[in-house]
């Protein structure tokens, strides 16, 4: 069996996982990134708002959370979460490696998104907030409908770059045995010594798959960005 046939036969395992099992491979990598980026993004809006707040009681815990999560390697955060999560039942789910990976990646995304959101909130023109207040919106209303949308739009390019980075970072889940692309590459190779000639072609394929996926995600993000900026110009409230 030559290299091309071998890669061709392993492609389904690399892309969607082993037959008869739950989704794995690249599909699982994308699912992990998608869920953690969306849930983490919502959490980050909260942490970012707290960090931008004038009250110390809100600012300190949020800043500490971001500093701690960003200060340790993701691989360590993953093991720590897995260690705690695998012994506890949470929301009726069992302590599986996939659940640990989701929790760890969500915390990680929340910490990495919180900082740009905080910076975005601090860049909201005071006049915009004043206008909203004069029009009679409450503080929480101003936050959800004026300040956060402004912050997220102005920080959009940084946020999408970070989301693509999180997709690549999902590869570390191999340490707790979640069947993502990196793990399945190892499973496909197995412990068979006769397979040692397949390492180079297989890992070149894995690298190419990550590369293509990251490129596609980046392109999608810039298309989305273009639409968003187009919409903002029609809503632009700043005086000309």
């Amino acid at each position: 069996m030559d290299d091309v046939t071998f890669i061709w036969r392993s492609l389904p395992e690399l892309l969607i996982g082993f037959p008869g099992h739950r989704p794995g491979g690249m599909l699982l990598s994308i699912l992990l990134a998608g869920v953690s980026v969306s849930v983490g993004g919502v959490l980050a809006a909260g942490f970012g708002t707290m960090s931008a707040s004038g009250q110390r009681a809100l600012r300190l815990p949020a800043t500490a959370f971001v500093w701690i999560i960003r200060g340790v390697p993701l691989i360590l955060l993953l093991l720590l979460v897995h260690n705690i999560s695998s012994s506890a039942a949470l929301l009726g789910t069992e302590g599986t490696p996939t659940r640990s990976a989701l929790i760890a990646l969500t915390l990680y995304s929340a910490a990495y998104f919180a900082d740009p959101i905080r910076a975005g909130l601090q860049s909201v023109p005071p006049q915009l907030i004043e206008d909203a207040t004069l029009l009679g919106s409450s503080r929480s209303h101003t936050l959800t409908y004026v300040r956060l949308p402004f912050a997220i739009r102005s920080m959009f390019p940084g946020l999408t770059t970070q989301a693509v980075t999180i997709f690549k970072d999902t590869s570390v889940v191999v340490v707790i045995g979640v069947a993502d692309l990196t793990t399945n590459a190892q499973l496909v190779l197995g412990a068979d010594v006769a397979n040692s000639d397949r390492w180079i072609p297989l890992y070149l394929t894995v690298g190419a798959l990550y590369f293509i996926a990251a490129l596609v995600l980046t392109k999608l993000a810039s298309a989305w960005e273009l639409r968003l900026i187009g919409r903002r110009s029609s809503l632009d409230v700043r005086p000309a």
Binding site: I75, L76, N83, I84, T182, F211, A214
Partner: protein
């Protein structure tokens, strides 16, 4: 001292810490240099060099660091026939002397992981420093040229430090990220801090304790590294912005 943290365990963690710090230092300088070269390459007059640097940056930024480490450490040795593999990658004059020279064990895997981290961080830095290059005033380059600086001199004393200076905040956050990425080298059995920690957990079954302790060590390392980088930045900016 807590009963799980024996003297021997602590010593093994310190050994790992030394390798982590060493790996961080080597990859930091390597990545800065590679980043500088790639950034200049993308502004080269030759189209081939521009293309090649651009392709390098794209490839090594978009493939996860862990996959690069596995590729360099595990896949590259398989290119050599099995009968010669040990002699080329593990047991020869170079590797044996490398261990003796540095005092810490440096297996092939460590060199491979360092190369992968340098390629990954270097590609990211190349993109960041490229932005910095465009902020260097033309008259600064012109006056250096008039003073007789050659091409290399111009790059080393004017362009590279100038680009670093203006892109330093982004450079330092990438370098801190790279420091944390050294933990990925544990995956290919490089005896660094994370790997020592995994060994201690296997020995003692005290996972939570060791994970928390090592998390604190990494937080300390990140804080110390970011303070060092801040000092470097002050040093770079001295006499500027005046």
């Amino acid at each position: 001292m807590a009963n799980w943290l024996t003297r021997e365990a602590l010593e093994r963690l310190v050994d790992g810490l030394v390798v982590t710090v060493g790996l961080t230092i080597v990859t930091t300088f390597g990545a800065l240099l590679l980043g500088g070269i790639l950034a200049s390459g993308r502004r080269s007059r030759s189209r081939a060099i521009r293309r090649a640097s651009g392709a390098f940056v794209d490839v090594f930024r978009n493939v996860p660091a862990l996959v690069l480490i596995i590729f360099f450490a595990f896949a590259v040795p398989t290119t050599v026939p099995q009968s010669d593999r040990a002699a080329v990658f593990f047991d020869n004059w170079l590797w044996n002397n490398l261990d003796g020279l540095t005092g810490v064990p440096i297996p092939y895997y460590a060199v491979a992981a360092a190369a992968a981290l340098i390629a990954n961080a270097g590609a990211h830095l190349g993109e960041v420093i490229r932005g910095g290059l465009s902020t260097i005033p033309a008259e600064e380059i012109e006056s250096a040229r008039l003073l007789g600086a050659g091409r290399f001199r111009l790059w080393w004393s004017v362009a590279f430090p100038g680009a670093l200076r203006s892109s330093f905040p982004a450079v330092s956050s990438r370098l801190i990220h790279n420091m944390k990425n050294t933990a990925l080298a544990s995956f290919v059995a490089v005896p660094e801090l994370f790997h020592s920690m995994q060994g201690e957990i296997t020995r003692s079954f005290r996972a939570t304790e060791f994970l928390a302790l090592v998390a604190l060590i990494y937080l300390g390392l990140a804080a110390a590294f970011s303070m060092t980088l801040q000092r470097v930045e002050t040093h770079l900016l001295r006499g500027r912005r005046g």
